[in-house]
Every structure is written in structure tokens, then in C-alpha cells.
């Protein structure tokens, strides 16, 4: 195994409005190793790999490839320097053949392509690395696992020495995963480098030589996989010593009657895959139940099913014993379910409409006569809510997209709370907000619970869940895999179950 340094990243800083995605990250990656990048969502893994592949430019810091300083302006530059990326969402033209996809964008000046030569080269590469796929097959005919092999072949065909795989196992069956790992080992045995981005601890343990753990945009440690354990990695990933204060609340015991009852619900995701598998949970009056988990494990679908935006394939949902119709948002609203979706500007609000119209979106029926809206009532409601929720806006008729993130969220919360809900589903309610706004939103959630609303808080921010929730459920691959009371909860245990380790 070579020990020559393939990639040296020094002091990488990348800021996005309101967030520091990478905060002075140093990273050394050698030729001939599988180097895992481990971290929760938002830890900065994707940003770092996008910098390596030329999609983003770092604000500060330097990148060296095999000892030479480089600056990439586009994915093409990175490819030319031997760095190839296998995206989580494949970049393939589905009506083209495998061979056509492989040669796409190749900087070859010949007018016609030599189909036979390409097919032969693809065949040779696929034999060498066990990436079985027919060069003349069309992409839409292939399974997801085969499509991923085409993505890898594409990168190898361009002569990449460093391959970055972003959550490559997310779409694979266990058998395909095993085959992929064999391929990765075969590639590093030849001196190539694989950067394996994942949040699944057991897979990182199984395939990598070294692991770098990112948390909150920082590199919190690089360890040799053999000298580490899932437990060590989990605690590095979620952070042990972050100080957080639990919000102390007193909820009278008799108030804990179950208000939301979710029984055995299953649902599909947008692509028709299984997103939820027999999920059951309850939320009591005045209780905050936190759902922890890495994004993409069914949390979004769970929120959508409960709020009636997505149909369930089986199971039932009831609020105080009254059944909510599957996939009917209006039924959910009628039963008293409020929803703060994670994509607030697209799903939560009509972003180019005014503040007052957005505030009236849910109860406009009560403010109309003969189906004609009563503008006066709408404006009065808006003035009142802007005042009570302290929404900073130039006016009642300002489009919400012009407001800051925190005020957008306040508009959403004001609308949802003013409907006097019994249950509130809040999905990542503080994501992307600044510290002050985060405080406000959290206070509102606690206030709602104090008033007897059952709150289901879905968040990737474990600190947030641990400081707000009374009870914590952990989701992994569409199931609830663990349940712990938040009081005195063990972060390590939650970190492990989030990463798919069975206790």
C-alpha cells in the first residue's frame, strides 16, 4: 500500500449565507487507501467533496494533488487532474447506452466515435474491477446497482486516480453493497484512492482504511479504522462534550393523554421505493417527541404522511381517536394537525405571495363571503399576527420571499399556531436560521407544548432534540429503531442507532 499523499487539503473554509459549511478543514488522503468521510448531515462532507471536484471554490485554504497545488474552476478541471465523483443521484442519460454515457464529454477531437473500441475498453475495465455491465445496454434497462457501476466506469474511463463516492450504498441492496466493496478494494490495491462518504458506521468499518470524522464543518479527527470501533466513531460523530441545556418543563401527568396515534404506517417515497415501514408512535398532550436520524431515513415522508400530504400504503393515523384520511391534507387540518415543513419557502408558503395572503392560506374560508375574500378581515388578521409573532416585515403586503429566514419561519409558525392545532409536526424548524431566530422558534415550540399541543419535532440536530424533547425516537431506513426518554439520554447510543448499529 502506497503512502504517498494523494490529496492534501489545508485550512479549507467555505461559507454559505448564514452557515460555515467548512471551517478550516485539514485533510490528508493517501494513494492506495479507502478513506471514509463520516459525519451527520450538514457536517460538511458534501461541501468538502464538491470543493474537491471543482463544483465549489473554497473561500480560503489550498488543495494539493500529489504535491502540486491546484485550483479547480469546473468539474472538468478536476477530472483532468484525476479526480472523479460518483454522485448520489446519478448523472446518466437514461436513453443512451452504457458506452455512450461513458464517452460523453470526452475531449477527443475525432468527429465520429469508434463504438467498438469504446465497448472494448468498457468491457476491459468492467472485467478488471468486477463491474459487470453490458456496454450496449441502455441505462433505463439497468438496475440501480448496475447504473452505479456505469457511473464508476465513467470515472475510471477518464483515468481518474481518486474516486469520490457520495453515499454510494444508499441505493444498493446488501449483496450489491458487498460487490461494491470488493470493487473498491480492487481499485485501491492498484494504487487508486477511494473517498467514501457515508454516515453508516458498520460500512465505514467494513471498507475503509482510515476515517475522517466531520462535525459542524470541522475535522474532529482522523483515525485508523483498525484501531477504532463503531462506538468511538459514533461519539466523534455526534460529539460528546457539547454543552446543552435541557429545557425544564413541568407537564402535569394527567395531561399526558395520547393525542396523536400513528399505527403501523407504511409509505413510498417519490421514486416509488419504500420510505416508511410499519412506523408506530404516539404523542401525548403537551408532549414534545423528537425524531432523531440522519436525513433521508424516512423523516420527511413521515411528516408528510401525518400531515396528509402523502398517502400511506397501510396503517392508520388518528387525533384524539378520530381517523385522519390518508393523503388528504384538508382532513389532517380539520382534525387539528399543523405542519411546519422543512422546505418552508416552497412547501410551507407561497413565496411570491404577500405576508397577509400567506397568513390566510389556512383559514381564508372563514374570511370570505359568497366565496369572495374579505380583504379587510385578512389584513386585520395579518396586522394582529405580525404584532403578536414579532414578524419583521416592511408591510402586510410584502412578498414573503423578501423576508429573512427567521421571519419567514415566524410567518409559517404564526399561521400554523393561529389555527389552534392539537398536534404540530415540525420538520427541521430551525435549519438555516441564525441564533436569535433559533431561540425564538424553540421558545414557540415549548410554549405550544405548554399549552397542551402535542409536538412531533423532526430534526437532524441532535442537540436540538435532546434539549427540547421529552422522548426521543430514532429513525433508520424507514423504521423507528430506538426509543429513549430525553432525560439523561445517552448520546453515544443515539449516535450508534442513527448509524444503523443494532444494540
Amino acid at each position: 500500500m502506497g503512502l504517498e499523499t494523494a490529496i492534501k487539503m489545508t485550512g479549507i473554509v467555505k461559507k454559505f449565507p448564514g452557515v460555515i459549511a467548512n471551517d478550516h478543514v485539514n485533510l490528508d488522503i493517501n494513494f492506495g487507501e479507502v478513506h471514509a468521510l463520516l459525519g451527520e448531515n450538514g457536517a460538511g462532507k458534501s461541501t468538502l467533496s464538491n470543493i474537491l471536484t471543482g463544483l465549489y471554490r473554497p473561500d480560503d485554504g489550498s488543495v494539493e494533488i500529489a504535491g502540486t497545488k491546484v485550483e479547480f474552476n469546473s468539474p472538468r478541471d478536476a477530472l483532468n487532474a484525476g479526480i472523479g465523483m460518483v454522485h448520489q443521484h446519478f448523472r446518466l442519460v437514461s436513453t443512451f447506452t452504457v458506452a455512450e454515457n461513458v464517452v460523453l464529454g470526452e475531449s477527443d477531437s475525432s468527429l465520429f466515435m469508434d463504438q467498438k473500441a469504446v465497448a472494448a475498453r468498457v468491457k476491459e475495465l468492467s472485467d478488471r474491477y468486477g463491474l459487470a455491465v453490458d456496454p450496449s445496454a441502455r441505462i433505463w434497462q439497468l438496475s440501480v446497482g448496475e447504473q452505479q457501476r456505469v457511473e464508476i466506469l465513467k470515472v475510471l474511463y477518464r483515468g481518474a486516480r481518486v474516486l469520490i463516492l457520495d453515499e454510494p450504498t444508499a441505493v444498493l441492496t446488501p449483496i450489491e453493497t458487498t460487490e461494491l466493496f470488493k470493487t473498491l478494494r480492487a481499485m485501491v490495491a492498484e494504487g487508486r484512492t477511494v473517498i467514501f462518504i457515508s454516515h453508516k458506521l458498520d460500512e465505514v468499518m467494513a471498507v475503509s482504511d482510515r476515517v475522517t470524522v466531520l462535525r459542524g464543518g470541522r475535522n474532529v479527527g482522523t483515525v485508523n479504522t483498525r484501531e477504532s470501533s463503531t462506538r468511538d466513531l459514533a461519539s466523534l460523530m455526534v460529539g460528546r462534550s457539547v454543552e446543552f441545556t435541557r429545557v425544564q418543563r413541568e407537564v402535569p401527568a394527567e395531561a399526558r393523554s395520547i393525542i396523536l396515534n400513528v399505527t403501523d404506517i407504511s409509505a413510498r417515497d417519490d421514486r416509488g421505493g419504500i420510505a416508511l415501514q410499519s412506523v408506530s408512535l404516539t404523542v401525548g398532550r403537551g408532549e414534545i417527541v423528537g425524531i432523531a436520524g440522519v436525513a433521508g431515513n424516512g423523516q420527511r415522508e413521515l411528516a408528510e404522511v401525518i400531515s396528509g400530504m402523502r398517502a400511506m400504503t397501510s396503517g392508520s393515523i388518528s387525533v384524539q381517536g378520530e381517523k385522519v384520511q390518508s393523503g388528504k391534507a384538508r382532513s389532517a387540518i380539520a382534525k387539528g394537525i399543523a405542519h411546519v415543513p422543512e422546505d418552508r419557502l416552497h412547501t410551507g408558503l407561497a413565496s411570491s405571495h404577500s405576508v397577509e395572503d400567506n397568513l390566510a392560506l389556512k383559514n381564508y374560508r372563514t374570511m370570505s363571503r359568497f366565496r369572495i375574500l374579505k380583504r379587510k378581515s385578512i389584513r386585520a388578521q395579518s396586522t394582529d399576527l405580525i404584532e403578536r409573532y414579532d414578524i419583521k416585515t416592511p408591510g402586510s403586503q410584502t412578498p414573503v420571499r423578501l423576508l429573512s429566514g427567521g421571519n419567514v419561519q415566524k410567518v409559517l409558525l404564526a399561521r400554523e399556531f393561529s389555527a389552534l392545532p392539537k398536534v404540530l409536526i415540525a420538520a427541521s424548524p430551525t435549519r438555516g436560521l441564525d441564533v436569535g431566530a433559533i431561540e425564538t422558534v424553540r421558545e414557540r415550540l415549548v410554549q405550544a407544548a405548554d399549552n397542551g399541543v402535542g409536538v412531533l419535532l423532526i430534526s437532524e440536530d441532535l442537540d436540538e432534540i435532546m434539549s427540547l424533547a421529552d422522548r426521543i425516537l430514532v429513525m433508520y431506513e424507514g423504521r423507528i429503531v430506538d426509543e429513549v426518554p430525553a432525560e439523561g439520554a445517552d448520546r453515544e447510543r443515539i449516535g450508534l442507532t442513527m448509524g444503523g448499529i443494532k444494540l
Binding site: 454559505f16 469546473s74 454522485h87 443512451f96 455512450e100 460523453l104 468527429l111
Partner: protein
């Protein structure tokens, strides 16, 4: 005698189908890159009026004048669709709206008629026309003579173009990359292909070809300038692209089918067949509507091989 009518109908189907094919071929290139051009009708009219002007004002031999008319028609069409490309690719506006705007702006009651007015092209028949040729002196050969050897130069050019563009689209690297841009601009971008460049080039190329179609109307079919003379040929061309499954060869056949429908009225009338002219004139458009209805469902679109990103502006993923 009956077979005689059939030959005349086929020969004039090819004649009338030629401008349709040019416009539709342009549409194939444009749509293959992922841009929907609903401005074809307006583009053809601007090409037609520019060609008519050139025919009246460019001196030299007859051949040179005709050539210049075609070139100037192409330039006019190219400029018109460069505007469309700017709206759709750079400003990322709704492509349907942009295309309709171009047709209204350039169309029968718009810019083309205005130019015709100030240039005074409408007053006289165009002096130098695109005429039917007598190739190898074989125009009088029975059957194949009128059909094959008595067509205009542009018809012969269109046959060559049908072959060349098929090779271009399906055999060359550039063609492959063009199709990738229309199918999956994200993929193309990730592989270092410039989505913007491909879309601009092929939208402009498409407009230039539509311009030739317009010149064919003002220099061969009518041949004089009449406001709105294409009478919806641009819309037929858009339907033809779908009808031909975005393939030049099938589109050529489709163009001749519609050409036959267009010419049927005058041919039959000349032969004394008594059918209402209005019904015959309406036939191509009835066919167009039928074709469009048949293929407009999303499902059919996919099956027929429409470029997956057709009509969708491309924006690079940013966070």
C-alpha cells in the same frame, strides 16, 4: 389519367413539403438541445420577407440573387431565434411564452408585415424566383420525371440535409453531446459539456433553417410577398417534429404527407374535381390537431422519444 393525377399530387407534395421540412428540421435541432421553439411561424415570416427584399435588391446573376436571398433569409431567421435563445437559455423564461411572443412579435400583423411595408416588397412579384429545375433534362421522363427531376434546388438540398443531419445527430460525438444536453443537462454539465453553448448554437441553427422555409414561400410557392403568407406552416412544422419522432428521415416523410394535404385543393380544383376548397385547406390543420392531441399526453411523449429536458430551463444546482 388517374395515375397522372397521382403523379402530380406526389410531385407537388414534395414541392409544398420542402419548406415544411426545412422548418421542421430546424425544430429537431432546437428541440434536441432542450429548447422548445414556438416562434417558428414568426421566424419563417421574417425569413420570407428578408428573402423577398434580397430578391428585389441584390444584383448579379439570377443564381447569385437567389443564393443571397436564401442566405439573408437564414440570417433573419437566425437573429430571430437568437432572441428566443437569449430569452430561454440566458434569462430562463418560460419557453412556451417566449416562443408565442416571438411569433406574435414577428408574425403576420407584426414585424414581418412592417418590414414588407417600409421596404415596399409587397408591391411587386419577386423578380428572381426559386424555380423548378430540369435535372439532367429528365423532367419529362414518365412518372419519376415530375417527381424527382423537376424540383427546386432547395428540395435537392433538403434531401442531402436529411442524410447529413441524421449522421450528425446519431453518429457523431457532437450529435451525441447535443442529445445529452436535451435529455439530461445535469449530466452533460457534469461531463464538461457547455449546455448554454449547445442550446444557443442549435436554436440559432434551427431559426436559420426556418428562415429558408420562409424564403421558399416568398420565392417559390407564391412567389411574391403577402402578409402572413406562411398561413400556419410554422405550426405544422412544430407538429411535424413530433410526428417524425425527432428524426430527420421520418420528418421528411411527414413533411411530404402534409405537403400533399396542402396542395390537394389546388391540384384537384385544377383537374375539375368538385370538392369545397375550404375543407381541403383546413385538412393540414385538422391533421396537425389530431397529431398533437395524440402525442400530447406525457406518457406518449416519453414513448415517442421526446428529449426529456425539452422546455425546461437549465440551472446548475446551487445550495
Amino acid at each position: 389519367m388517374n395515375s397522372n393525377i397521382l403523379i402530380i399530387i406526389i410531385a407537388s407534395a414534395i414541392f409544398y413539403g420542402t419548406p415544411l421540412f426545412f422548418a421542421a428540421l430546424g425544430g429537431i435541432f432546437t428541440e434536441r438541445s432542450g429548447v422548445l421553439n414556438l416562434g417558428v411561424e414568426g421566424t419563417m415570416l421574417l425569413g420570407g420577407v428578408s428573402g423577398a427584399w434580397a430578391s428585389q435588391h441584390v444584383g448579379g446573376s439570377a443564381w447569385f440573387t437567389v443564393l443571397m436571398s436564401i442566405v439573408i433569409g437564414m440570417i433573419a431567421g437566425g437573429i430571430t431565434s437568437a432572441l428566443l435563445a437569449f430569452l430561454c437559455v440566458t434569462l430562463k423564461t418560460n419557453q412556451t411564452v417566449a416562443g408565442l411572443a416571438i411569433t406574435i412579435f414577428a408574425g403576420a400583423v407584426g414585424l414581418s408585415s412592417y418590414f414588407a411595408n417600409i421596404w415596399g416588397v409587397a408591391e411587386n412579384p419577386v423578380p428572381r424566383q426559386i424555380r423548378r429545375l430540369d435535372v439532367f433534362g429528365l423532367a419529362d421522363t414518365p412518372i419519376v420525371g415530375p417527381i424527382i427531376f423537376n424540383q427546386t434546388i432547395l428540395t435537392y438540398v433538403s434531401w442531402v440535409l436529411a442524410v447529413l443531419s441524421t449522421v450528425y445527430l446519431f453518429r457523431t460525438r457532437i450529435g451525441l453531446q447535443l442529445r445529452a444536453v436535451g435529455e439530461s443537462p445535469q449530466t452533460a454539465d457534469a461531463m464538461g459539456i457547455s449546455v448554454v453553448k449547445y442550446r444557443y448554437v442549435h436554436t440559432i441553427l434551427g431559426g436559420a433553417l426556418a428562415g429558408i422555409g420562409g424564403v421558399f414561400y416568398s420565392l417559390a410557392i407564391v412567389p411574391t410577398w403577402v402578409d402572413g403568407m406562411t398561413k400556419g406552416a410554422g405550426w405544422i412544422a412544430i407538429a411535424l417534429v413530433i410526428f417524425g419522432f425527432w428524426r430527420p428521415s421520418l420528418t421528411l416523410l411527414g413533411a411530404y404527407l402534409f405537403g400533399a394535404l396542402q396542395s390537394l385543393g389546388s391540384t384537384l380544383k385544377a383537374r375539375g374535381v368538385n370538392i369545397s376548397g375550404d375543407i381541403l385547406d383546413a385538412l393540414p390543420f385538422v391533421m396537425t390537431i389530431v397529431v398533437l392531441v395524440l402525442v400530447s399526453s406525457r406518457f406518449a411523449h416519453r414513448k415517442l422519444g421526446a428529449p426529456a429536458a425539452l422546455g425546461v430551463p437549465y440551472e446548475r444546482e446551487e445550495r
